[in-house]
């Protein structure tokens, strides 16, 4: 009897060890060596407007449906709220400089030629690379046209049905494996470009002006209270996004099974938009309205939704794709692969940080410290206050100080790094 008990105990222990060890080896396989990569970068798309990352609104049913069984990153921070900086940092997987140095007068694009972009790296690895862009801002002006076999620059704020038709056309034409970066700017405010034949909201302060076959939408904020024009800005943005979502839905429907089975599709925004939240009309600041962006990765081997709740940094996207494709890189890179995080392991990055030249932010967990011009420091608890309405710096000075100290240290580290890179660059680069 006693022997049997002992045997049962040994069996139980062996079974437990087996169960524990099988649980700890994660079965998620994300390698995708012969896959295509499609980047859909919807400029100015706020994460709190997308159904998969926020329950606040219901304006993106088609995007939500298409990426339903993708890897959903719920809490993604862009490195900057301005196009040139954020795009450059994301595509080169390098941090944005917190201090603008005087000798390489900042345009990040000027210095970023030292760092290869994903297009250059994939081109080297025999991908066919295509960029469909709008206006020069995130392309030639940022020197991000480099590395593309085909660089197609459409007019600024081209209607999305037109730019998607172009994307559809090139998808069918080029050889594989291919990397396509598609970047519509149709959500860019000031004035919106909208199709003439689509249903639209009315409001006494909304101005619709016919421009050929399109409508130009603007609003007059006279006689409106701040809350009223903030509400109007949100309504017009939602209308614009519904149109984007509808057209993306049509595009997704046309994608063949064959293409979907061998393509990693990444949906993200390089920054969001203010819409008068935190008194910010548009963007280029570090508030959440500007830097909290969606990031979904639809992977041929992922058939169930995978949600990542940890705060992650958008400059880590490109190294993640490199790892999925099995590509080794030999140049300096500051982004780190998100694959361990996707597999449920630790995220090696302790802090997220960035800025637009006139402001800086640093984030650790739920805490975010912001420094505007050096004269206005702010601290927010993003769990309790996701829209950064209450600055709690006076209530939690010690937390602010710890974060500020790390930010200051980071400024120095970046200057040291840039200095090293410059001497390397000056030695090796011939104009």
């Amino acid at each position: 009897m006693r022997m049997e008990k002992e045997k049962a105990l040994v069996l139980l222990i062996v079974a437990s060890i087996f169960l524990i060890s099988s649980c700890s080896t994660n079965p998620i396989d994300l390698s995708c060596e012969d896959c295509n990569v499609l980047f859909l970068n919807v400029d100015l798309l706020r994460a709190d407007y997308v159904g998969l990352t926020s329950q606040e609104r219901n304006v993106t049913p088609n995007i939500d449906a298409f990426f339903k069984n993708a890897i959903i990153f719920e809490d993604v921070s862009a490195p900057a709220g301005a196009t040139l900086r954020s795009n450059t940092a994301i595509l080169t997987a390098m941090e944005v400089p917190l201090v603008e140095t005087s000798d390489l007068k900042f345009e990040f694009g000027m210095t970023s030629r030292m760092y290869p972009s994903i297009a250059e790296t994939l081109l080297e690895n025999e991908f066919f690379t295509i960029n469909i862009n709008e206006g020069p801002r995130s392309g030639k002006k940022a020197r991000l046209e480099r590395g593309f076999n085909s660089y197609i620059e459409l007019e600024w704020k081209t209607l999305i049905n037109t730019s998607l038709a172009k994307l559809q056309e090139v998808l069918g034409k080029v050889q594989e494996p291919k990397f396509i970066l598609y970047r519509p700017s149709i959500l860019h405010g000031g004035t919106y470009n909208y199709p003439l034949d689509l249903e639209r909201i009315t409001h006494p302060n909304l101005i619709y002006k016919e421009q050929g076959r399109n409508l130009e939408i603007s609003y007059d904020i006279k006689n409106l209270t701040y809350e009223e024009y903030q509400e109007l800005a949100h309504k017009v943005y939602a209308q614009q996004l519904r149109y984007v979502d509808q057209e993306l839905g049509k595009f997704f429907e046309k994608l063949s099974e064959n293409f979907l089975n061998k393509t990693i599709i990444v949906f993200y925004a390089n920054h969001g938009d203010g819409l008068y939240d935190n008194n910010i009309q548009q963007h280029a600041v570090v508030y959440q309205s500007n830097i909290h962006v969606p990031l979904f990765i639809k992977h041929p081997k992922i058939t169930k939704q995978l949600r990542i709740k940890k705060p992650i940094f958008l400059i880590d996207l490109v190294p993640t794709i490199y790892e999925m494709l099995g590509i080794n890189i030999y140049s300096p890179i500051q982004g780190i692969s998100l694959i361990p995080v996707i597999k449920g392991k630790e995220y090696q990055r302790k802090y997220l940080f960035g800025g637009n030249g006139h402001d800086e932010y640093i984030r650790k967990g739920e805490w975010k410290f912001i420094d505007f011009w050096g004269r206005n420091k702010q601290l927010y608890n993003l769990t309790e206050d996701p829209h950064e309405k209450i600055n709690v710096i006076r209530k939690f000075p010690e937390i602010a100080r710890k974060l500020e100290a790390v930010l200051r240290k980071k400024e120095i580290e970046q200057l040291e790094f840039e200095n090293q890179m410059k001497s390397y660059y000056n030695d090796s680069y011939i104009e």
């Binding site: 201090v99 005087s102 860019h188 600041v285 006139h358 100080r401 500020e404 100290a405 120095i412």
Partner: protein, 191 residues
């Protein structure tokens, strides 16, 4: 035996909270102390990144200093020049070239415009702005009715000690003399 066990548990239950409170107090005290600098008794707190924060808030004056040690002069220069330029830019009326960029400049009447000054020491230099601050201690307010404090925002670099000090000073509006005195006291006799 049982009684002994109960007695021991009771003792531990009594001693443990006292021990915890004491160790927390000691721990907190270990992180902040008092430091006299430039004639002011600052409250000092150190961070893990060898950055020191000094606070003073008495008699109508509020001072916050952020001291960073072991910074090479060329890097300190980059940082200081950048921050000074940023502060200046906020009050220039040029529009940004990029349409999406929020317009940050503030229209400021001449009498409220921040006044910039530079001062060279034997061992370092000070670059600072005198301006007015609002009730939230935001320097550079440009509206008469929001003006609540005198303000000095600036940077001191001490080359011998390779230390950079970020300075935020505020005083009541009628304390011009004290404000000037503070400026006069700034020197490189730090740590």
């Amino acid at each position: 035996m049982y009684k002994k066990g109960v007695y021991l548990i009771k003792k531990i239950a009594l001693i443990l909270p006292i021990f915890l409170v004491l160790s927390c107090t000691i721990g907190l005290k270990g992180n902040s102390s008092s430091k006299n600098l430039w004639g002011y008794d600052f409250n000092e707190s150190k961070s893990e990144m060898s950055t020191i924060f000094l606070d003073y808030n008495k008699n109508g004056e509020k001072i916050e200093l952020v001291i960073m040690k072991n910074i090479e002069e060329r890097f300190a220069k980059e940082i200081i020049d950048n921050k000074i330029l940023l502060f200046k830019t906020a009050f220039q009326s040029e529009r940004p070239s990029y349409l999406g960029k929020f317009v940050w400049h503030v229209k400021c009447p001449e009498e409220l415009l921040p006044k910039y000054s530079e001062f060279e020491f034997e061992e370092g230099h000070l670059k600072s702005f005198f301006s007015f601050a609002d009730k939230n201690y935001v320097a550079g307010t440009c509206s008469e009715e929001k003006t609540k404090y005198n303000s000095i925002y600036g940077f001191l670099y001490c080359s011998k000690k390779e230390s950079m000090v970020e300075i935020h000073y505020f005083s009541e509006l009628d304390m011009k003399e004290e404000t000037n005195n503070f400026l006069g006291e700034i020197n490189c006799e730090i740590y």
